[in-house]
Symmetry: C2
Subunit: 341 residues, 2 copies
């Protein structure tokens, strides 16, 4: 954490990770940009992935915040940018590499860059395009923070802009115009009345949501507005494809001009894989659904069942108060060591 690694600036940290892994002398190490892949080559029947991103969101700008680099460490709690998201998880990956020389399954360690920025920059996406053969595995664990519980799959996300059009006029002669903001009333009403579903997928309950996240319209206090734009975000359970999610929203808002601006598929929980079952047993806690989108969706797209499992509270991610308990890191490491021992 003392090595600043805001997205796009991961080189120094990737160098340190690569050097540590090569120093162990028993891993096949590949560097791609600022991503590092290290594999045990023990000829085991199963191969699993332990993956984590090296980058963080920008450093906090709040004066006096404890989120700045250098970090603070009192022996129990580690404060600083990236503590939760996800240096704790990366620490577990490195500790497994260093302390479990003879795992029961072959392991592919993946450390990658640019997770916190636009999907097109993703280091994991680049590896999938350029070094797909290095990623072959039966099961994946992404060490994003989950408070030490297995969180399966993730909801998908899709965004729309709903636009209403009118005719500008001076508000003293409003009848010469058409009010685009008034026309947005039924869009907001349908969203407000909508009752989001909870969908059970492979035994886990995925709670959906559909929301207006932004709205803007009008140009001046004395002009009838000729346009109003409502930005809408639908978080949909992984039983649906993005195309099915889009059709659902278009049906709900039929009659309105709707442009899809962005979408990412969800991921089914992947708990049916044999490796997943034994892993869940080793962790010893009931698995939960993951609501936020994570890179398990990317592994899932490659045909690799994957779950989230890591130390730290995901609600602290990106906050000025970001921190992780040392015990949470140790417990996560212990569970993986039991499973791989």
């Amino acid at each position: 954490m003392d090595i600043e690694s805001v997205s796009g600036n991961e080189a120094a940290l990737a160098d340190a990770v690569e050097s540590a892994l090569r120093g162990l002398g028993r891993l096949e190490v590949t560097r791609n940009g600022d991503a590092v892949v290290a594999r045990t080559m023990l000829g085991r029947a199963e191969r699993i992935i332990l993956a984590g991103h090296l980058d963080t969101v920008p450093l906090p700008t709040v004066a006096g915040s404890r989120g700045t680099v250098p970090v603070s460490w009192d022996g129990k709690v580690l404060y600083g940018r990236g503590a939760t998201d996800m240096k704790g998880g990366v620490a577990v990956q490195l500790a497994i590499a260093a302390t479990v020389p003879e795992p029961s399954k072959d392991i592919t360690f993946i450390f990658y860059d640019n997770e916190e920025v636009a999907a097109v920059k993703s280091g994991l996406g680049r590896l999938a395009r350029e070094n797909r053969e290095l990623l072959d595995a039966d099961f994946g664990i992404l060490l994003e923070p989950t408070n030490g519980t297995v969180e399966g799959g993730c909801n998908g996300t899709i965004r729309f802009e709903a636009t209403t059009s009118g005719l500008a006029a001076h508000s003293a002669r409003a009848w010469m115009g058409e009010n685009a903001i008034h026309k947005a009333a039924p869009i907001l009403a349908r969203l407000a009345e909508y009752e989001p579903a909870t969908v059970t997928v492979d035994g886990l309950d995925y709670r959906e949501s559909l929301n207006a996240v932004k709205i803007h319209g009008g140009t001046a206090g004395n002009v009838i507005p000729d346009q109003c734009v409502v930005e809408i975000n639908y978080r949909f359970a992984p039983d649906k494809s993005p195309a099915q999610a889009e059709a659902h929203v278009r049906e709900l808002l039929s009659g309105f001009e709707l442009v899809c601006t962005d979408s990412s598929a969800g991921a089914r929980p992947g708990l049916n894989a044999p490796a997943a079952a034994s892993f869940v047993a080793a962790v010893g806690r009931e698995p939960l659904p993951k609501y936020g989108w994570t890179d398990v969706a990317r592994l899932s797209e490659m045909g690799i069942p994957a779950v989230n499992f890591g130390p730290g509270d995901p609600l602290l991610a990106h906050s000025d108060n970001e921190h992780v308990d040392a015990d949470a890191i140790r417990e996560c490491l212990a569970a993986l060591t039991r499973w791989l021992g």
Copy 2:
């Protein structure tokens, strides 16, 4: 029009007007800031006001627009900033001063600054505070553009901000938050359903309107919005005070947080004054109601019945295509000359 006179920069034009009026040698001329008041002192039974503002809104920025200074003039149509609003009217004032030496009523010519900006800067307001005695009159004519028709009184205007509050949360866990944009749905629905009244005041029909003019809410595409603000403008007939107009909107939007941000009283048409009746007869057209707010409301507040009457199309005011027909100016001048002759 060749002398740029955007609000706050009227000094050169006020100098030119003052000099022209003093040069006639038969008017009592007073300068106050960039306002000029010139009065005939003929001891007539009645005194009327001919008023107009010297300033314009800022020059057009559209490349190739004909609204720039210097202006264009083909002998029939005068193009340029201020042509309609209201150099045409000011030209009529100056022509009356120059060509009607013995009017049947005493005339108070008022040329004033800062009409196009915040009410607190108004040159007419300043004259009312500092030289109230110069403004005494039985009837006022404001030479704002009305296409040469007498337009009586004006609607009042009042603005509100209606704010809804919620609770921010990540949109992947929307149920942790409360959506402030969704809460605005009934505000928009009530405004959309509202049927504005038409109110007859002193024989003229005033058409009201009530509109959302702006809306904004939300901070990011993945955050449940915690605030939404709807700006509302009510244009109300001059049978109501601003307080009555406010009560009307508060009743319609009861249950919502509503802050009144701005209001201006309307003005009754003032056609009951004896001078008004003879003036309407001289113009020879059916008077109409004025919808937009003008300084007749300010004269009305001082107890001076007043109407709008001037050359040019008010819909061209402030536009990049602002222009006025020379014939419109001549017709307006002819009507006033008939009445004052």
